[in-house]
Amino acid sequence: MDLWAAARLWGPPGLLLTWALHLALCLRSAQTSVPPSRDYCVLGAGPAGLQMAYFLQRAGRDYAVFERAPRPGSFFTRYPRHRQLISINKRHTGKANAEFNLRHDWNSLLSHDPRLLFRHYSRAYFPDAGDMVRYLGDFAQRLGLHVLYNTTITHVTLHKARQAWNGHYFILTDQMGHTHQCSVLLVATGLSVPNQVDFPGSEYVEGYESVSVDPEDFEGQNVLILGRGNSAFETAENILGVTNFIHMLSRSRVRLSWATHYVGDLRAINNGLLDTYQLKSLDGLLESDLTDLAIVKDREGKFHVTLKFFLEEGNPSADADAVTLPQDDNDNFAMRVAYDRVIRCLGWNFDFSIFNKSLRLSSGGKFSKKYPLIKASYESKGSRGLFVLGTASHSVDYRKSAGGFIHGFRYTVRAVHRLLEHRHHGVAWPSTELPTSQLTSAIVRRVNEASGLYQMFSVLADVILLKENAMAFEYLEEFPVQMLAQLETITGRKARHGLFVVNMEYGRNFSGPDKDVFFYDRSVGHTEDAWQSNFLHPVVYYYRHLPTEQEVRFRPAGWALPRPTAIHHVVEDFLTDWTAPVGHILPLRRFLENCLDTDLRSFYAESCFLFALTHQKLPPFCQQGYLRAQGLVGTESLRRHGVESGLLRDYTTADRLHEDGARRPLGSSRAPGPPVRPPESNKEEL
């Protein structure tokens, strides 16, 4: 009413306003037939959705993020239930290198704004989930990301259209019935559906998502927890001190992340129950397949564990107390005690329900059905242009790397963005072209600071594409290695003259739930044993030709990459500092020069000068530096060291000339120079 009053007062402007409103309404009605169209639609404003939004925003792309909740990161408003994140917030590393520090910052998203680092949001090593919510809110707001909050996408379908980038549009319908048309759909909805196992009596089980977090409620109770992941142990940790005992039941053995090197396995911060179990404090772990079990409730409301088989055998309508229990046959059955509570902590599944069949977004990676089926490029196998990001994309490296966690998927999201930039906007994968003399340095630099290689080890790797005659190379960062065969189409770069792949790897047989990772003599110190390194270390693969899809798919078991022409392991380092001149850099240089069949040593200008006048060809360092009048002159004290080491000759004293007697052949043993090959004429002389 006020508005109308104002309009009347203002007169003509009011008219204008109403006209504008009318126009808007018209447009609205028109949109029902042609929905608002965007190039990129991101589902979910969690960490992965925001991360993608950031890259799209920076590239100036047409995008929108759809978020059901009124703010970003709604998952973290409720989970983890006990509020402590288990991702490391290491605020100090003793180093200034921001890229290196990201190796130990598991919570920040990637951005150009140093204020948006998680260490400014929490001082705790294992921060509170509330801080994550606050951080994600700031991230979206400070960077001005385009997020449509309170928009629940209820249905996604495919609409064929020849002019569309991928031959079809994705049509999103929100809770208001409005539709949105998208050229590319980026699904970052995470895993939101609690995983439930169906067995008789599962109705008596409380879920992690709703169970009380107040320890008071468990005072003096017998508790059975189903599941063996971090959520199960987190729940146990919370009530460990107040219960009579906790039994934890799951199909498989416990997997400790320190042994598997997989951050999704049980973290030490949650493992109090293992301690009390092994120290005979009544708590315990049991292994059994949940689908074989049944839970029956007795008259006192206590729960008994039995076998499904017994239930089927007996009269289903029989009284709970009449059901056969395992201890009837086997009087020392482990779970013969009655429980007060049974809690299910079995993880989450991807929500497939909103996707229409036409999208062919099916479940079933090889590990479980919790993840949608995608390629190593994070694109759905069912429909082109549909990418899965974030936690839901973890099928690519489940139980291997960090792709299901913020500190991993922030890099895979960047890789997807780079792929899209090339596919739809002709922007080739970013690369740096450098002369060969910089090859060793380029690798040393990356393996010492790159966080994407370090976090997403064996999933993302750097690729070095050699130019003709190997005089120069292009350096591409963080490429999804499983897509190596398709590198040219994905990146828009050419790999005609061979390539190196720089990967980070743990030792072949080092990681596993049953492995002793503290065995004596576990570390390798000698460069010639570098291939036996156990701890995460850089591995460089050399290929003469880009591997084919077949070679990538049928690579040897346990290999991150197909069999290369040659391989180099940089020996593991306790400080993860691979800059030792003889221990790390020298063997790497030897490997590179043997692959390229050249000499990659660096030389002072004086040596290059000598070579220039005594050889027809020069080593790459002299060609690319000295010959362009950019030689390295060096100082007197360095020259003295050179003479002492025998690598440089002192020509300043004239009498040396005669003392040495016969002339020194060009390039003999230690002095720099190309190795002498016996000339053909030798044969004749014999």
Binding site: K95, G558, R590, T598, S602
Partner: protein
């Protein structure tokens, strides 16, 4: 007899080699009926026949081995056949039962021996047994020490003995001894035993392996004296025994007076080094005794020669008493001062060890050195790591302070990486520069360690190290592209103090500019000042020149004059506008160059070319600029400053355009000591300086020397150059045209991983297993008996191609053949 068996032996040797390198090439076994077989037997010729039932497929392993023995036995003139016993033609050799099939050795049609098949267990056993039977007289088999002593005393003064112990008859070592006996059996008495007790009794400790002793009995005149013995150290293979016996035959000590590099003896051909004991007239007798003693100690390991210093034409360093020459071609002789004869011995033995490794695994050269730094920059920086640099003289910039310090004032920033050797070497020069400029420069000297501030470096577009950039307010940062050294960077900083091109406003000022008065303090950094002369209306070319001047800023002083009275200058210096005036301050000369509608890039080129001198002193710093011209260099090497006469002659030649196809220059060895290294590469024996050479760097690499007996005069030079051009002069050396290859191999982790994987039979990788098999086979073939430490596996990628490897192997063997 000797010569024919020698020929046979040659074939034998080459066969062994072929056998090593291509196992598959084997002659095939002929199959005959008994009748047919006996009809082929020739009188005096040996033949081995294996009789078996025609239909029996058994003993196929034996047949395979026999098949392999065909070729080697044929080489010794022994034919091999498989005789099929058929029912119709019974022969007494056929035997009655199927199991008692045997092999028989005939000479003509006389049966020499019969062998049960189990004694002929493999090809080595077959060859060994057959030769053993044939050489029954040449090779004495003994079992007691007494037997040996009897033979020894019988042969004193007559013949030497080759005594060998093998673990068993039919072993590869036995075969090697028999093959050697086939050749040398008439010259030396071969004695063989399998008794370890006998071996022990003559004082051998190691009884596990086969041994061969050479008993020098021929020289023994006194019958009470024992024969001297020499133990052969390398493993018993045909080739090694041959080599060993050859050295036993060679004279113990040779006297020479010629250049050690030129001497040739059988030792070198056998791949053994030479040791020259340097002697003088005065000490001749003593030296000869020493040399003889050394010669006995080194018998079979090296050749020992007595080198007479007095009569020698060679220049032997004064104190050197031993000259050591390796067998490898092209390795220079080493002059040594060794005061203990044991040092001579150990020198040879340590050298031999290396040689052995090289022989066995020729890709394995110097593998222990792989962890030794051979990068001069990395090594020198590492050795200098403990010296504290006065880093505080430069401002350390961080991500946070970059904008406040660097962008706020005119600065030079060095971007480096703390772990990169080249960066750190240059950082030292940079600090030296800071010391020089301390308190005098308005330019801020800053540095960024990109190992810490990676993002900052990336933002500043720094992707390689080291990089120097100059930041001036309101200008885009400029990257320094000169030599990475104190002097050149200093020049860059100093010349950047003035804006280039300098705007000259009056004729008076222009004159001052040209004679160097205007920028007195800068003249030492830029020997040439360039002045662009333009009429005020020549706007385009003025702009282009300004751009070019900007481009060259920091390297050359440029100025611009375009006032109305520009004609005063253009007339004075006879220039047509637009033009460049070049003032060469050192020579006090001013030249003019016309400048017709050239774009900025061309003007840069014109100026850079104009900076080149006609007859420059070539230095480490300026060589690259001259090399760009892609012409042969005519270099005059001078100890100290150049003689003005020579310079004059050269300039005259240049002026008369006789040197247009060359870059005439001179090199002052005092300023550029590396020049000595160049001379050493050009001349075998260095003639006295000055020297003139023409180096054809870009096509062919020939080096020509101006005859040192001619005076450096215009006429002589001209004549020589004419002859050179006509192709009448011959070059003194050709510069090597090899590509720069990896100095050392790398670790072959892939094959180490394969080897480890092959121990786990569970993992199957077809490609891996194939390769492993192949390499194992190689090892077997290479050396059947040698027990040696497994070398560190190393790789050279080009050698991964196995066929290549074979080719190379074949080549080296062709030479060996020639030696024999």
């Amino acid at each position: 007899m000797m010569s024919s068996s020698f020929n046979l032996f040659r074939v034998g040797i080459s066969f062994v080699m072929m056998c090593i390198f291509c196992k598959s090439a084997v002659g095939s076994l002929s199959e005959l009926s008994p009748q047919k077989y006996f009809s082929t037997l020739q009188p005096g010729k040996a033949s081995l026949a294996y009789f078996c039932q025609a239909d029996s497929p058994r003993n196929s392993v034996f047949l395979e081995e026999l098949n392999e023995a065909v070729k080697p036995l044929q080489d010794y003139g022994i034919s091999v056949a498989k005789v099929n016993c058929v029912k119709e033609e019974t022969s007494r050799y056929c035997g009655k039962e199927k199991d008692s099939m045997k092999a028989y050795l005939f000479r003509g049609n006389i049966l020499l021996r019969e062998f049960p098949p189990d004694t002929l267990f493999d090809v080595n056993a077959i060859v060994a047994h057959v030769l053993f039977a044939l050489l029954f007289n040449e090779v004495k088999y003994i079992s007691t020490l007494e037997d040996l002593q009897n033979i020894e005393s019988a042969l004193k003064g007559k013949a030497s003995i080759a005594f060998s112990y093998v673990r068993a008859i039919g072993t590869p070592e036995h075969r090697a001894v028999m093959e050697a006996a086939f050749v040398y059996g008439t010259t030396y008495q071969f004695v063989l035993t399998t008794e370890t007790a006998l071996l022990e009794s003559i004082g051998t400790e190691d009884i596990k392996n086969a041994h061969l002793y050479f008993f020098h009995c021929k020289q023994v005149l006194d019958l009470t004296e024992q024969c001297r013995r020499t133990l052969m150290e390398p493993p018993l293979t045909t080739l090694n025994i041959h080599r060993f016996i050859k050295t036993m035959e060679a004279p113990l000590l040779t006297e020479v007076a010629e250049d050690p590099q030129q001497v040739s003896t059988v030792h070198l051909q056998l791949g053994l080094p030479l040791v020259f004991i340097v002697s003088q007239q005065a000490t001749y007798e003593a030296d000869r005794r020493t040399a003889e003693w050394v010669a006995w100690r080194l018998l079979g390991k090296a050749g020992v020669l007595l080198l007479l210093r007095d009569s020698s034409e060679v220049d032997i360093p004064q104190h050197a008493n031993v000259v050591f020459r390796r067998a490898e071609e092209g390795v220079p002789v080493e002059f040594l001062v060794l005061h203990d004869v044991d040092l001579i011995i150990s020198r040879v033995e340590s050298n031999m060890h290396i040689e052995e490794i090289q022989e066995d695994e020729d890709e394995d050269m110097a593998s222990p050195d792989m962890d030794i730094q051979d990068d001069e920059v990395a090594e020198t920086v590492y050795r200098d790591r403990k010296r504290r640099l006065p880093l505080e003289l430069t401002v350390e910039v961080t991500e946070e302070t970059f904008n406040t310090t660097v962008v706020a004032s005119d600065s030079i920033v060095l971007f480096y990486a703390g772990w990169q050797a080249v960066s750190m070497a240059f950082l030292q020069s940079y600090i030296d520069l800071a010391i020089k400029l301390k308190g005098t420069s308005t330019m801020l000297l800053a540095r960024v360690n990109c190992a810490d501030w990676s993002d900052l470096c990336t933002k500043q577009n720094v992707t390689e190290f080291p990089v120097v950039k100059m930041y001036k307010e309101g200008e885009t940062p400029v990257s320094y592209t000169g030599m990475l050294g104190t002097e050149d960077l200093l020049k860059f900083i100093q010349l950047n103090r003035i804006s280039c091109p300098v705007n000259i406003t009056s004729v008076q000022e222009a004159e001052e500019y040209l004679n160097g008065e205007l920028h007195k303090d800068l003249i030492s950094y830029s020997s040439v000042s360039v002045l662009g002369l333009f009429s005020p209306n020549m706007t385009t070319v003025k702009e282009d020149f300004t751009e070019a001047g900007n481009c060259l800023k920091g390297y050359v002083i440029t100025g611009i004059y375009s006032e109305e009275d520009v004609l005063i200058l253009s007339n004075k210096y006879a220039a047509t506008l637009p033009a460049l005036l070049l003032a060469r301050h050192k020579e006090g000369k001013i030249e003019s160059i016309p400048l017709a509608n050239s774009p900025a890039q061309d003007i840069v080129q014109i100026i850079t070319n104009a900076l080149l001198e006609t007859f420059p002193e070539i230095t480490v710093e300026n060589l690259p600029i001259y090399l760009r011209l892609q012409k042969p260099l005519l270099i005059l090497f001078s100890e100290g400053s150049i003689n003005p006469q020579y310079k004059k002659a050269m300039l005259k030649l240049a002026k008369d355009k006789h040197l247009d196809s060359l870059i005439p220059c001179w090199l002052n060895l005092q300023n550029t000591p590396a020049g000595r290294g160049i001379l050493q590469a050009y001349f075998d024996a260095l003639p006295p300086l000055p020297l003139i050479v023409v180096v054809n760097l870009h096509s062919g690499g020939q080096v020509f020397a101006f005859p040192s007996d001619q005076a450096i005069k215009e006429q002589n030079l001209l004549l020589w150059l004419k002859k050179l051009e006509a192709g009448l002069e011959s070059h003194i050396t050709v510069l090597p045209a090899q590509e720069w290859k990896p100095p050392l191999p790398a670790y072959d982790f892939l094959s180490m991983m394969d080897a480890a994987a092959s121990h786990h039979p569970t993992r199957k990788d077809p490609e891996c297993t194939k390769e492993t098999d192949a390499s194992e086979k190689d090892k077997k073939q290479e050396d059947k008996s040698a027990i040696r430490k497994e070398p560190i596996e190393t790789l050279r990628i080009k050698h991964w191609n196995r066929s290549n490897w074979f080719k190379e192997g074949g080549k080296s063997f062709t030479h060996d053949n020639k030696e024999l």
